[in-house]
Structure formats: structure tokens, C-alpha cells
């Protein structure tokens, strides 16, 4: 993209991000907040795709973030920012520890492994009623606030979520543009070569995997403190699949792809709601059509068509 095109894209992104403030409608804020939260989960999945491994456990990591943040704030009495940080640290640490073992598995096997892992995480929330509340989930999660500044009102929470998304994108871009990204690209191009060059490729992949879990945990923490209520099924593999579809719709080759996907897919059920009976069918057909006719996603359209 040229300089002008980049500027136009940035302006468009800013306009879309700020649009809810102009609309001012409570439900628009609600949908916008969900776009931000689910978009973050999609970004976290995007990171795992960048290391060439489709992780279906990202919903589980979002759950770990949500439950950790909720328990830290509600039962341990930590203020929201500390609970958020704590949740991110816990999820990233779990991912780093698991990554040492599971990242050795590649390809379809890795997708299946994380599918099992994601289901297992959710089943743990269901099975251990103390402290996770079982199928009931956790209620009465304190609303978000930054010191004296309450984020309970939707516009305030949306502003906060927007800032978080922006910071996460900056961090992810830094990660992908810096040394890790370089190593990862060389891994994707020729893994044996970079391995023979002495790169500890597993360590780099583990770093990115932990970062992806951290982003998922941020998403989970925002979700918990926004809704004030969490339950296990919100974090099952279905949630990950939704994030995956966002990546596909938005374009997997583009950092903005997952967010474009979230922007389209989160409000999509609202469009089809008029016909409840056909909602799921229309949704599925649109997805199939997208995958068959726009394999590079909508982001691919924007980035021009360089592929034959």
C-alpha cells in the first residue's frame, strides 16, 4: 500500500472506531464493546497462526483470563487494573509452561491437541464448583474502574476497550516487526535452515504462544468485568472457532484482518435476527461463500489482489 492509501486506511479505521461515540446509542456501544473483546480474541488466535500453528485453545485462555480476573477482583479484592494484570500474567505463564511441551507437536495434530486442551479447560471450570462456580459461573464481578474513574457506563468502558485494543495492536506489531517476527518469518520460510543456524526456534514460538495467551486473557478480563457475569460455555471451542472465522473473513495475512472480521461477524447475527429460524443457516452460508469465493478474506480485497 502506498503512503496515501495507508493514510486513508488509518482515517477509516479511526472513523469506525469513533463512530459509536457519535451514534451514542446504548446498544451500539454494547455491540462495539463486544467487537473489541472478540476482536482481541481473534488477534490472539492470529498470533498463533503466525507461528504456523492453529491453536483451538485460545477460548480456553480467554476463560483463564476471565476467571482469574474475576476471582482476583471479587474474592481477593484487588482493584480492576491489578486483576487484569494478574490475569494476563497467569494465562501467559500457563501458556509458556504448556508451550514447552505442546509446541513440539505440529500441523493437524497441534490443532487437535489444542482442541482437546480447550475443551479440558472448560470442563475444569464446570467440574470444580469451588472456586469456579460450575455451570453457574461467577456472578457479581465488580465493574471495571481505573482508580477513582468508574468504567461502568458503556461509553467509558468502550473508550477503555478501544485504548486496550490500540495498545495490544502496537505491541503485537512490535513483536512481529522485531527480532521474534524476523525469526518467525525465517521459520515459516525454511525451518530446518534457521534451526541449523542455531536459532532456538522453540523458545521463540513459546514466546509468541505466551503472548497470544496474554492477549486472550485481556479479552477475557474485559469480558468478565463488562458483563459482570461469566460461565464456562462462553469460552469453549465454539468461541475459538468464532475467532478463527473472524480471521478467515478478515484475512489471515493481515494484522488488521482479525479486527475487520470481528467488525463484520459480531454484528452479523443482529442482521439476521429478524428471521430467527433461518439465522444460523444464513450465517453458515455467508461463511461458506466467503471461504469459497474470497479465500484471502475481506482484508485481502482491501490489500489489493496480487495473487493470480
Amino acid at each position: 500500500m502506498g503512503r496515501a492509501a495507508t493514510a486513508v486506511a488509518a482515517l477509516a479505521a479511526a472513523a469506525i472506531a469513533l463512530a459509536p461515540f457519535l451514534a451514542g446509542d446504548g446498544f451500539v456501544y454494547h455491540v462495539a464493546i463486544l467487537v473489541a473483546i472478540e476482536g482481541l480474541l481473534a488477534v490472539s488466535l492470529h498470533l498463533t497462526l503466525r507461528i504456523g500453528q492453529l491453536s483451538l485453545a485460545q477460548g480456553g485462555f480467554m476463560g483463564i483470563g476471565a476467571y482469574a480476573s474475576a476471582l482476583l477482583a471479587r474474592d481477593a479484592g484487588l482493584p480492576f487494573p491489578l486483576a487484569l494484570v494478574g490475569a494476563v500474567v497467569i494465562a501467559a505463564a500457563i501458556a509458556a509452561a504448556l508451550g514447552t511441551v505442546i509446541l513440539r507437536v505440529r500441523g493437524v495434530q497441534f490443532a487437535l491437541l489444542t482442541f482437546g486442551l480447550g475443551e479440558a479447560i472448560v470442563l475444569i471450570f464446570v467440574e470444580f464448583v469451588v472456586p469456579f462456580g460450575g455451570n453457574n459461573g461467577l456472578m457479581g464481578i465488580p465493574p471495571a474502574s481505573l482508580g477513582p474513574l468508574s468504567l461502568q457506563a458503556r461509553p467509558a468502558f468502550y473508550g477503555f476497550a478501544l485504548a486496550v485494543v490500540f495498545l495490544v495492536l502496537l505491541a503485537v506489531r512490535g513483536l512481529l516487526a522485531g527480532t521474534p517476527g524476523m525469526v518467525l518469518r525465517s521459520l515459516a520460510d525454511n525451518e530446518p535452515l534457521s534451526r541449523s543456524l542455531g536459532t532456538d526456534e522453540l523458545a521463540w514460538r513459546r514466546l509468541v504462544f505466551a503472548a497470544s495467551a496474554a492477549v486472550a486473557a485481556i479479552s477475557g478480563s474485559l469480558y468478565a468485568h463488562y458483563l459482570g457475569y461469566i460461565s464456562p460455555e462462553a469460552f469453549n471451542v465454539g468461541a475459538t472457532v468464532k475467532a478463527l472465522i473472524m480471521n478467515v473473513v478478515g484475512g489471515v495475512g493481515l494484522l488488521a484482518g482479525p479486527l475487520i472480521g470481528a467488525l463484520i461477524l459480531v454484528p452479523l447475527p443482529e442482521l439476521f435476527r429478524a428471521s430467527v429460524r433461518y439465522q444460523q443457516l444464513l450465517y453458515g452460508l455467508s461463511l461458506l461463500a466467503l471461504m469459497l469465493f474470497l479465500p484471502r478474506g475481506l482484508g485481502g480485497l482491501l490489500a489489493g489482489r496480487s495473487r493470480p
Partner: protein, 391 residues
């Protein structure tokens, strides 16, 4: 060229969907939207569809009489229904829609306790009135805007168990089965307590997952405790039917009671008439009564499934709400409407007077008492065999 056509077709699909949604929002004016929030799909759907059916029957009646008279205006009542899929998170999103773009202040539902407890902080804060059949004890505590439309395990368990002791003196050992969530935990706890108080031994208490259909392992464990009667509690009726059938197939000869949401048609459908024979439950209405026939006919205009007894609860609740709004003279001042409803007891219900109480148990008199029948399944149909005395 082909690619261009494909893109154009895709764009057209998306645009038409957007246009459709926008069109749906364009109407309104002089209509009062009443929300329905219930499980419209899956195993709990009989109850959710009962909310929707009851609300629509009541709305049809009001609209046929020229609408709701509020002050000098007449509102046409419109029902807006959302499915919570028995999931709390879906309930929160649905409520956000009802309260946001739909501008709804009065909601019938939900049934799931988790759904209700998840939305309660929002509805209490934003002053949205709920008429729920959710049975958790925590529903009415610290709430000002929630009414519970019918008696719960808490209210009827002593009476139903007394009936069991009187009519089945040989029954000594009880097993209970309930769903593994707030609804099941709460009702099972109350049942166990009440059975214990009545001097019956609870020999097994099991929980299942809502999407479960295979109960062979659970029943193996349960039947090993040799119960005389199995209490199916708040288990959704289609699931209850499967449990009954699989228990009978494993050789269980004892009694089944389902004191907590009963649906003869659903239980007979999934258990089979032979296996369902003799199952005893409670019902809001008498299936042989003319009222039942009238509502059943009206219900058939909205939903294809066989009407369940919860239609009585929500039909009456909707009528109670409409009367409250007319009496308060406002459809916007929620506090006034709540006050008006509180003051309208006893209200003429479909099968008898509705009264309310609950102050000592829940701290607020928002527990509505309705007449309750004991029903046994005989040859695939429900027969009233007694009435439950709630006081």
C-alpha cells in the same frame, strides 16, 4: 468476470441483510413492546415457548379490544422475543437488545436461574421489570423489579411430599435427579431438605449435564441405592422422559415423581406411553378443563408444539402486567407500574385467584401464588388426581 459477479453477489447479500434489519427497525409508534426472554430452543424450549405463547395470547386479546388504555392513549401491544438458549451469556446479550434498541421496560422470563441471576444486576439498575419462573431462592432477594409468576419448590415441596406420604405409605427411599446448574442445585437442595423433614430417606442425589441424553451410567449408580421413588425435580420434561425410559429399561419398578415443571406431552413423547404410565407431577392447570382447551386453541396459532402448563403462568402474568399498566396510567414510569401490580392482589387468574407473598422468605412480596394441581399420566394423558394446598 466470474469473480466480479461473485463479489457483486456477495455484496448484494450483505447489503440486503443490512437493509432488512434497518427496515425492521423503522416501524414503532403507539405500540408498547413487551419483551420475552426464554429458552426457545433445546431441551428447555417447552418452557420458553410457554412464556412466548402465554404472552402472545394475552397480547392478542388486548389488541383485539383496541389495545392497552393508558391515560388517553391506546397502545398496541407487540411481543419481542429472544432466545437465551438456557445460557446466561446469551441472556445478557438479549437483555441488552431488549433494553437498548427495543426500548423494552417489561420482560416476561427468563426461566433459567443462571440467566436470571446474570441479568439481575442490569435489570435492577436500569429499572426493568421481570416476570420470571426462575426458581432459585436468590431470585427475589434484594430485588425491587422482579416478580415470580408461580410457586416454586420452596412453596410446594412440603405439600407435594405430604401427599406422597399419604398416598404411598410404602415409599421410604428417595432418589433425586436434577440438572447440574443453579436451577438444579437449588431445587434439589430444597427437595432433599423437605424429604428429610418428612422422614423419608434420600438415598441418592445425582446431577446431569443439560445436553446429556445417555443416562445409563448415572442410573446404574442411582438404582444401586435401591430407591422406592425417583424425584425428577426440575429436570426439563424431554430429558425427564429419557431418564424414565432408561430407568425402566434397567429394571426400575418404583414410582416417578416430577414435582417441578411437568409436561405430559413431552414426557410421553420421549419416554413412550408405556414407560410414562403412572408418573406423577404438578400442573398449573387441569388438562381436562375448558380453560385448558381455550388456551390450547389460542396457543396453536403461535406455536406448533403441544401446549405446556406454564402457558397458564405467563398468560396470567401478562394480563396482570397489562392490568397494572392500565391501573398505573403509565407505560413508562416503571415504579408506578410495580406499585400498581403490588396493590392488585387478589388478581383473577385463569383457574383461580392469584395472591402474593414471600416477604418472610425473600424480603419482598413478589412471589405470586397460583393454584396447583397434582397430575398423573394415565394412558398417555394427564389426569388431575388432587390439588396442592400451598398455605
Amino acid at each position: 468476470m466470474l469473480r466480479l459477479i461473485r463479489h457483486a453477489a456477495l455484496a448484494a447479500t450483505i447489503l440486503s441483510a443490512i437493509a432488512g434489519a434497518a427496515g425492521a427497525r423503522a416501524q414503532a409508534q403507539e405500540t408498547l413492546k413487551i419483551g420475552v426472554l426464554g429458552t426457545l430452543t433445546g431441551p428447555g424450549a417447552t418452557w420458553g415457548l410457554a412464556i412466548d405463547g402465554g404472552a402472545r395470547i394475552a397480547a392478542d386479546e388486548v389488541n383485539a379490544k383496541g389495545g392497552l388504555k393508558v391515560g388517553d392513549k391506546a397502545y398496541k401491544v407487540e411481543i419481542v422475543a429472544y432466545d437465551d438458549q438456557y445460557k446466561a451469556a446469551s441472556a445478557v446479550t438479549a437483555l441488552n437488545r431488549l433494553a437498548g434498541p427495543d426500548g423494552v421496560r417489561f420482560v416476561l422470563g427468563p426461566i433459567g436461574s443462571a440467566s436470571l441471576l446474570a441479568i439481575k444486576p442490569i435489570t435492577e439498575r436500569d429499572k426493568i421489570v421481570l416476570f420470571t419462573a426462575s426458581w432459585s431462592a436468590a431470585v427475589l432477594k434484594d430485588s425491587n423489579y422482579i416478580f415470580r409468576v408461580g410457586p416454586t419448590t420452596q412453596e410446594f415441596a412440603p405439600a407435594t411430599i405430604a401427599w406422597l406420604k399419604r398416598t404411598h405409605p410404602a415409599v421410604k427411599r428417595i432418589a433425586t435427579v436434577s440438572a447440574n446448574d443453579e436451577t438444579g442445585w437449588n431445587s434439589q437442595r430444597i427437595q432433599k431438605e423437605a424429604y428429610g423433614k418428612a422422614g423419608l430417606e434420600v438415598v441418592a442425589a445425582e446431577h446431569f449435564e443439560r445436553q446429556q441424553t445417555d443416562f445409563r451410567a448415572l442410573l446404574t449408580k442411582l438404582l444401586a441405592a435401591k430407591p422406592d421413588s425417583i424425584e425428577l425435580d426440575t429436570t426439563p420434561p424431554p430429558t425427564a422422559g429419557l431418564i424414565i425410559r432408561q430407568a425402566r429399561e434397567q429394571g426400575y419398578k418404583g414410582l416417578f415423581t416430577k414435582f417441578g415443571g411437568f409436561d405430559v406431552a413431552e414426557i410421553v413423547r420421549t419416554a413412550g406411553a408405556d414407560y410414562a404410565e403412572g408418573v406423577v407431577g404438578i400442573s398449573q392447570g387441569d388438562p381436562a378443563s375448558p380453560e385448558w382447551a381455550r388456551l390450547r386453541e389460542a396457543y396453536a396459532k403461535h406455536h406448533k408444539n403441544e401446549m405446556g402448563d406454564f402457558v397458564f403462568l405467563f398468560y396470567d402474568a401478562a394480563r396482570l402486567l397489562f392490568a397494572g399498566i392500565e391501573r398505573a396510567g403509565t407505560a413508562t414510569d416503571v415504579d408506578k407500574v410495580v406499585k400498581a401490580i403490588e396493590q392488585s392482589a387478589p388478581f383473577p387468574g385463569t383457574v383461580g385467584p392469584l395472591t402474593w407473598g414471600g416477604k418472610e422468605a425473600y424480603g419482598v412480596d413478589h412471589q405470586i401464588y397460583t393454584p396447583l394441581y397434582l397430575v398423573a399420566i394415565q394412558e398417555g394423558a394427564g389426569r388431575v388426581i388432587g390439588k396442592v394446598d400451598l398455605q
